[in-house]
Symmetry: C2
Subunit: 369 residues, 2 copies
């Protein structure tokens, strides 16, 4: 008897013109699929069971009209959503990949997948995309070591995944951090921001960090932030004026936070732009009008846009040689907010974009081991 299992998945139905994706309209749960776990042909590949899915802001950018240039290829309408996830191998015909291996990387948002996935994969022809567009499907699943209880598996989707790696690589490449300097980190309770707070403190910096709830403010203090504030109840400009000037601004938000930081930076200050949470879901005409760009000249600032894809080759080996040990020793903290069930993935993705979750990197738990 074949072992037929339901294979629930999240489908990308429709490109988003402006604003946030709407569950049921742009992305939706599809319960119509099933899979024969014992019999499905692997064709030299391997079968994975999805344990966790990790919603990331970059996925919003993949849901745009592909005619709009951006840093990444788009998702394919009508196919399964692809994003970061943690999976376990059930069967394998591929050398180097064994049953029971855990893997982290890009995977279709569904319960089971024959890998490497075809459904949902962008037929990536470099020449058809603007130069520098990143093929997100190239962030293939990689085997990750069993932490044997030193930290939870979910850490691989937060501090030991793309958020932690992005923070580490951008900070190492561009921060020029010096002891006693002051840094402002927007979206400081996010996966990236919470790691940047800790890296900055390890360098002896004074850390100012913001987030959108009082609970997150407490979390940022626990991570070591010297000044933590709720940007919904305090004016960013006021806080930075009182606690600045800044030597460094780590930008996860863009727009109004960027403008306030430009005002507050000292001469020869640096800005690392790692995300634009305020602007992913906003039409051009509604974006915050930055009117102080002349200060970039007057203060001789350096503003550097950063995407992990450009640095993965050099930074991934360093990251995995340094960071997991610090996590295991409790010297770097990571907190995850677990949402149970793939059926909640569309809402979880939108809530992540809106910053509506309690403390912790949001992660969707699809199945137990």
């Amino acid at each position: 008897m074949p072992q037929i299992a339901p294979n629930h998945r999240i489908v990308f139905n429709k490109q988003i013109a402006h604003g946030f994706p709407v569950p049921g309209e742009h992305i939706s749960l599809d319960k119509s699929q099933s899979i024969d776990l014992d019999g499905v042909p692997l064709n030299g590949g391997f079968l994975t069971k999805t344990l966790m899915l990790s919603p990331e802001p970059a996925m919003r950018e993949r849901m745009r009209d592909p005619k709009i240039p951006s840093f990444t290829t788009t998702l394919v309408v009508g196919h399964t959503v692809v994003g970061f996830g943690l999976v376990v191998v059930l069967r394998s015909e591929k050398e180097g990949i064994k049953v029971g291996d855990h893997m982290y990387g890009m995977t279709p948002w569904e319960a089971y997948t024959v890998q490497p996935y075809i459904e949902g994969r962008v037929d990536y022809k470099l020449a058809e995309w603007p130069a520098g567009t990143f093929d997100m499907d190239s962030l293939a699943l990689q085997v990750v070591p069993d932490p044997r209880g030193a930290f939870p598996w979910s850490n691989y989707c937060s501090i030991l995944g793309i958020p932690g790696l992005s923070a580490f690589a951008g900070f190492e490449a561009y921060a020029d951090a010096k002891e006693g300097e002051t840094v402002y980190i927007s979206s400081g309770a996010s996966g990236v921001g919470s790691m940047v707070i800790q890296l900055a403190k390890m360098k002896g910096m004074k850390v100012i960090a913001s987030a959108g709830s009082n609970e997150k403010v407490e979390y940022m203090k626990k991570l070591g932030a010297d000044v933590a504030f709720n940007y919904k109840t305090s004016l960013v400009a006021d806080i930075l004026r009182e606690n600045g000037p800044l030597d460094l601004y780590w930008d996860n938000v863009g727009g109004s936070h960027l403008a306030a930081a430009i005002d507050a930076l000292t001469v020869s200050g640096r800005i690392i732009m790692c995300g634009v949470a305020e602007e992913y879901n906003v039409a051009h005409e509604d974006r915050y009008p930055v009117k102080n760009t002349s200060l970039i000249f007057k203060k001789r600032l350096r503003v550097q846009g950063f995407l992990i894809a450009d640095h993965a080759q050099t930074m991934v080996p360093r990251f995995f040689s340094e960071i997991p040990a610090l996590v295991a020793q409790g010297k770097l903290l990571s907190q995850e907010h677990l949402i149970q069930g793939i059926e909640n993935a569309p809402n979880a993705f939108v809530d992540m974009l809106k910053g509506g979750f309690p403390v912790g990197k949001p992660i969707i738990v699809v199945a137990q081991e």
Copy 2:
């Protein structure tokens, strides 16, 4: 009989809140002074006769309220305007400075001066200015070699002065220019811009350049620009879209040109901000609202503010070992627009800010040898 000469000067009367300076209100000619050229005590210094004065955009920034932080100290209200000039030494008690020496650097805008100047000099106490504020008075007069007819003395106020040096230093430090790349240069017929055009062509770049008159467009073509256009009659965005994408933007203007360049830059493109001609004379609320800063992140751009003061130590020796020979050989071109008479200095300064002159770096001729 003492040789008493009139000593006409330009006085800084009043700080400018917003907009352009008004001759007669903020800066004005003062004909009340005279000087005893033979008898005036030198106190170990030297007496100079002003030959040429060189109005520069940075002088506008020195006319602000000193409470507004910026890259430079301010001028002193009620005293002589200080700016760049070319002078000749009439008498000297200072070792190393001989009668007949020509010198270029900061000098009071008056016919004759006992140097080093006291009148108009900012009493510069580092602690009283924001960190990184540059003491413009430190750009003291330096002896320049007699070109012996290889090029005109006026070149020392343009391609061999601060404009040429700024272009050279910024380009060497931050352009990362590669053969076959495309650069856009705003204010391409200015002292700085005309040098950047030529430096970029020497590196084998494709050059797009803009200015505010058709005559300047022809001049930029003569300097080697592949695409030269009048920004008053063509849309910057259109020209850049047709001739881009850009690898580099040299920004002398800021605001609308900066926003258009951000749109037109390729992934990993660079911006060097060397001036903000569009914004020196505009109140914050009236400035161009830049709404595409998120592209700095998405395209991983690097935006670098640049002020020559930060690089003078390293770049001045290289500049003077390389560039005068190229000018003498006719491999680098410089054109100056000469305005006769110090009485025209206030209007010339304002016309320079407004870009209202014909082709050539505007220079005020105060006296013949």
